[in-house]
Symmetry: C2
Subunit: 198 residues, 2 copies
Amino acid sequence: MAKGQQTRETILQTATQIASKDGLEGVSIGKLAEQLGMSKSGIFAHFGSKEDLQTATLDLAWEIMAGHLSTANTAPGLERLRAMLNGWLLYLEHSPFQGGCVFMAASTEFDGRPGKVQDHLLKLVQQAVGILFEQLNTAQQLGHLHGDIPVPQMAFELHAFLQAANNAYQLSKDPQYFEYARDAIERNLKMWQTSEVL
Amino acid sequence: MAKGQQTRETILQTATQIASKDGLEGVSIGKLAEQLGMSKSGIFAHFGSKEDLQTATLDLAWEIMAGHLSTANTAPGLERLRAMLNGWLLYLEHSPFQGGCVFMAASTEFDGRPGKVQDHLLKLVQQAVGILFEQLNTAQQLGHLHGDIPVPQMAFELHAFLQAANNAYQLSKDPQYFEYARDAIERNLKMWQTSEVL
DNA sequence: TAAAAGATCGAACGTTCGTGCTATTATTTT
DNA sequence: AAAATAATAGCACGAACGTTCGATCTTTTA
């Protein structure tokens, strides 16, 4: 690998940590330079603009996160859905980012700032939720979930538990919230199987 | 009312709007000065530090929010609980703040920044969740909810739906998410009444 | 109405921000 | 090893940040 490419990745690794702790706007050229023992212009040359630095940071964060939602060696349907949700929870609880999920933080940070970064962020967030939709659809088609359940509704509820656990944990550092989330998710899955709820 | 006090409140009104749209850190003295046709030092003199400006902004935001959770003229128990949740949802959907709930935004913004502002924020957030706890406890004592339900678990789930609706709506501007939340909340309440879930 | 108190302004401070240039090194290619 | 290319440093810029201070203007009190 070319030298520059390697440096670029090192920069982005540091950037994801800063984004997790201080927000995506807190990823400043100066802070990166100091933290990496480089000059501001040396950092800057790799990206050309702060916006591009931010979107590149999101891309790396996405790769890292996606690696934790792996569903290898699981049967499609309910089992794979459970594996993914469990991976997601573990990713949030023992996060590779020191300040919690970059996407949940960036979502609230950028929901009022249209532009290139928001567009990129929205694409990645929808991609994450899309994976959840896929698993739910498959589980439904295989008969593991009741045939009449509205998948978007169920996705909303499961995603809500994940978000809430992440937020409450980051604010309080109390891991108990992940147990609440696990409980809520498991009960939710059971509910949508038998389902006289409809 | 003294002239200064009146100006101070005008400043804070503007500050809550900025906090909602750009975050609590986005509440800058210069922006306030420009937006209000005052000088920076004129603004600054009312608070003495940015931290105090931020905590005062949170205080006003709390007053505004608390006014929307009113449970007047409702019977204690399940009815009052429903009224409060409904008020909360309406507050999030037709928000007095242009950029969504100040507290949900500030929570993720400040979860990694210890200090005076975080302490103050935590106190107010716990106060909000505390109200939810109260209503749940009362409803349980009155027999409107099953006697064995773990109140913290239920509070987590209800709060999760509120948070998720706010976040998704702010990111997408699609009010559909509030319907998801209403649905989820109503089903949740029913579930904890009959409750073979335990 | 005069005096005291309060509110606001204007200018300046030291930092940090993103960004643009021009050198000067390192690295890769020939 | 020489030439071409890539990577980094150094310096400067304008703007925005929070903050301080002394002067001025406005309001309240006596």
